[in-house]
């Protein structure tokens, strides 16, 4: 058994960490946070130049074809520095969807642009409040054109195209749902940025009004393809969350060693030590669950759906827990704009929602475990 990343993958991690330490400083993140731009363009370019965008995209489509474990490694590093780039939208969602459901021609058309960073993709799924389900999809495609409103769309303002989840028919069944590729710079598309709890990632509302829509995958398999894309993205986001959780733990630990109160470092108070120990526990559990999901993703295992849901839940809880307790350990300083604690707190709460809320993933997990149990019996 080797339930760990390889030496090459660890080298890639070191390379990514060095690059991000230099290019993705707190100052750079704050440029986006404070609205100077919708994302960090020079960081995006740098990530593209290093080939990080295309590690899981096959060579014939413009990537390096290294694989999904490599992508997990990079995701963790991006999470550690709360990178303000549309990586998840473009790579975990759009590129994965096309790799999963696209024809050869579609792959040739879209993947090289995504791998080089010249094009940015996203997934236009949600239509306002409520739980992720086929019934919540109202956007409709007729005669090759989509109409409806999607909100929030991650990186919706900056993406060049979106994978749009819409109805291809009116039977009221799940098989109505299909995926479409829609050019966001073309006609019939109106978009505006929305304020969110985490301004380091853009969120937008997109109104489609007869925008040309190109079918992605079979028309009656849209929902199942979507759930498979979400499973894959959940694994990758889990690595971002693990990276963020561990960084929050380190920040808390470092502060606890330096900050003095009552004549001693606050890290010598048991109440503080135990907060940090519990952060270590949740981050460690999340990391281990994420590793299993990474294995399932990289081998296309039949256990992927269950592993992804477990990784998603564990990593979401860990990042939320660590980012909020990091603020607690920092006291008043943790609640200032100036300290970085809130960047992690914001990100953890935004990532918790981006791929569907907790109850969706709890259902995914429990339903899979139940099926497996029945099969075993």
């Amino acid at each position: 058994m080797n339930f760990d990343f390889s030496d090459d993958q660890k080298q890639l991690r070191d390379q990514a960490r060095r690059f991000l330490a230099e290019k993705c400083t707190s100052k750079a993140v704050r440029q986006v946070l404070e609205g100077k731009d919708t994302y960090d363009r020079s960081l995006w370019k740098g990530l593209a130049e290093l080939g990080f965008l295309g590690v899981a995209i096959p060579e014939e489509f413009g990537g390096s074809g290294a694989g999904h474990l490599e992508l997990c490694v990079i995701a963790e590093e991006l999470g550690r520095v709360v990178a303000p780039v549309p990586f998840a939208s473009s790579i975990y969602l759009a590129a994965e969807a096309i790799m999963l459901a696209g024809t050869d021609a579609q792959k040739r058309k879209y993947l090289p642009g995504l791998a080089s960073g010249e094009k940015i993709g996203t997934l236009a799924l949600f239509e306002g409040k409520g739980k992720l389900s086929p019934a919540a999809i109202k956007a409709q495609v007729a005669n090759g054109a989509v109409s409806g409103t999607k909100t929030p769309v991650p990186d919706g303002e900056i993406a060049d195209f979106a994978i749009v989840v819409a109805r291809s028919g009116n039977s009221g069944r799940e098989s109505d749902i299909a995926l479409y590729i829609v050019d966001l710079t073309g006609k019939g598309v109106e978009r505006r940025s929305l304020q969110s709890i985490d301004p380091t990632h853009n969120q937008a509302e997109i109104k489609f009004n007869g925008a040309p829509a190109e079918l992605l995958g079979r028309a009656d398999e849209g929902w199942s393809n979507l759930t498979r894309v979400l499973d894959r993205a959940a694994v990758l986001v889990a690595f971002e969350q693990v990276g963020g959780a561990e960084r929050a733990l380190e920040m808390g630990r470092d502060y606890a060693l330096d900050r003095m109160a009552f004549g001693r470092p606050i890290g010598s108070f048991q109440a503080v030590k135990h907060i940090l120990a519990d952060m270590y526990v949740s981050a460690t559990l999340a990391r281990s669950n994420a590793y299993y999901a990474a294995w399932a993703l990289s081998t296309n295992s039949s256990e992927l759906a269950e592993a992804a849901a477990a990784a998603r839940i564990s990593a979401t809880q860990a990042f939320q827990h660590c980012s909020k307790q990091n603020i607690q350990v920092h006291g008043g300083m943790g609640f200032t704009w100036e300290f970085d604690c809130h960047l992690y707190y914001r990100r953890s709460n935004a990532l918790a929602l981006g791929l569907g809320s907790m109850s969706y993933w709890e259902d995914q997990l429990i339903d899979r475990m139940r099926t497996r149990n029945t099969e075993a019996a």
């Binding site: 058994m1 080797n2 339930f3 760990d4 990343f5 390889s6 474990l69 733990l249 630990r253 606890a256 060693l257 001693r264 470092p265 890290g267 010598s268 048991q270 503080v272 030590k273 135990h274 940090l276 120990a277 519990d278 270590y280 526990v281 460690t284 559990l285 999340a286 281990s288 669950n289 590793y291 299993y292 990474a294 294995w295 990289s298 849901a309 477990a310 839940i313 564990s314 809880q317 907790m358 109850s359 993933w361 709890e362 259902d363 997990l365 429990i366 475990m369 139940r370 149990n373």
Partner: protein, 415 residues
């Protein structure tokens, strides 16, 4: 990243598998499956006797205490081979409970500190289960702070005379030998005045009294020492260095317990999966799902954390600190799960009456026994201290008694 055995490991696994298939007490399988929590009881017979039989069989086949050298009753296996054995032994692992303390904690101390004659005499019967050992560390005034123990040993010629009291000694009532830490010098700071011995539990002056536990069972004991004579050649490590010797066992204790602790999750999942409520299957309830999902991920998180440790072993590396979280996570989960299961049963959850109880009353038993899993082998708070200090590098607690001679340390909390 893969879960594959190396060719060597695969060969070893198939050897283990076929030996177990041919030798395991299959007649106990279904009972062992049900008796999944805490110390077990079996209808088929006396657990201790059945445990000894299985252990003996393993020893004869060369499958006892795998990582120990052959000459001491082991197999000279690598750490990864021991893990493979554990995985394959599966449900029959539960029969190993009476030997856990002796083989997991006392054995390694003998291995490190005893001379060869002692090792040759005591290790093989410990491995084969012919002799059972217990751990005599905790005292009424010294649990988490075990170095504050007061049981005295005074030199008398080539012997030591021991007086005092131990408490919480699991299995003392069926043990043949005990590993005993005592104070040999009260005039120096507490960690410096300790020494380690082993003794025959039948020695004159040793009196064992069972303690009735909060759960109603009696698995641990008080052990009184009145002028018990122990030969100096049964000392392990130098006089005054008992603390270092004790640390060897405590580290092994955490390692042994960390691997494969009971979480209660498989039981609660099966229960919710089969339970029908007025509103339909319990597992379809939103609140139930939410709890199950969290426990599921904690359980899988522990499992894969162990796999990461195994991977390090398999590469021949020393495992990192990840495994220290096992007991801490599992202990409180077991307790949460048990109370939740009772709540699902409504008012009838209170009953353990034979014709009333649900699923053999296993969750009622779990409620009553689970507090111990957060105390035994280091309390939750002590485990958090360890993670904070050893893993995260935070400062140690302020120790007001560190440089004070032991007999000058205050003993009362409130005047």
């Amino acid at each position: 990243m893969n879960f594959d055995d190396t060719p060597q490991e695969a060969k070893f696994r198939s050897e283990v598998r076929s030996w177990i298939a041919a030798n395991a007490p299959k007649e106990l399988e279904s009972e062992l499956k049900e008796a999944s929590l805490g110390r077990i009881k079996l209808k088929s017979g006396d657990v201790l006797q059945l445990s000894k039989e299985w252990q003996k069989k393993k020893a004869k086949g060369g499958w006892a205490c795998l990582q120990w050298p052959k000459e001491y009753g082991g197999r000279g296996s690598t750490p990864i081979e021991r893990v493979i054995w554990q995985q394959e032994e599966g449900i029959y692992n539960k029969l190993g409970a009476p030997f856990l303390i002796g083989q997991g904690m006392c054995g390694p101390v003998l291995m490190t500190y005893a001379n060869d004659d002692v090792k040759k005499r005591y290790l093989p019967p410990l491995a084969s289960g012919d002799e059972i050992w217990c751990q005599l560390f905790s005292e009424p005034s010294a649990g988490s702070d075990v170095a504050g123990l007061r049981t005295r040993a005074e030199k008398d010629g080539n012997d030591w005379i021991v007086n005092g009291q131990k408490i919480w000694t699991s299995g003392a009532h069926y043990s043949d030998y005990g590993l005993l830490v005592v104070r040999t010098d009260p005039n120096v700071p507490k960690h410096q005045g300790l020494s380690m011995f082993f003794l025959d539990m039948k020695s004159p002056g040793v009196e064992i009294r069972p303690i009735k536990q909060a759960s109603g069972a009696s698995e641990f004991n008080e052990v009184y020492f009145t002028n018990v004579r122990i030969p100096d050649k049964q000392r392990l490590g130098n006089v005054g260095e008992g603390w270092n010797v004790a640390l060897t066992t405590l580290m092994n204790e955490r390692y042994a317990i960390g691997s494969g602790v009971a979480t209660g999750f498989p039981e609660i999942f099966d229960y919710c999966n089969s339970l029908m409520t007025e509103d339909g299957p319990a597992i379809d309830d939103r609140a139930v799902r939410s709890k199950l999902a969290t426990w599921a991920t904690r359980t899988s998180g522990l499992k894969y954390t162990t796999y990461r440790t195994i991977s390090a072993l398999s590469r021949g590396e020393r495992p990192g600190p990840e495994n220290s979280i096992g007991k801490l996570v599992a202990g409180s989960m077991l307790q949460e799960i048990a109370t939740f299961a009772l709540d699902l049963q409504g008012a009838a959850g209170v009953l353990v009456d034979n014709d009333q109880k649900e699923v053999a009353g296993q969750f009622q038993k779990m409620v009553l026994s689970s507090p111990s899993s957060r105390i035994a082998g280091g309390t939750d708070e002590v485990m958090r201290n360890i993670i904070a200090e050893r893993v995260l590098g935070l400062p140690g607690d302020i120790r007001v008694d560190k440089d004070v001679p032991f007999n000058k340390i205050p003993t009362k909390g409130r005047a």
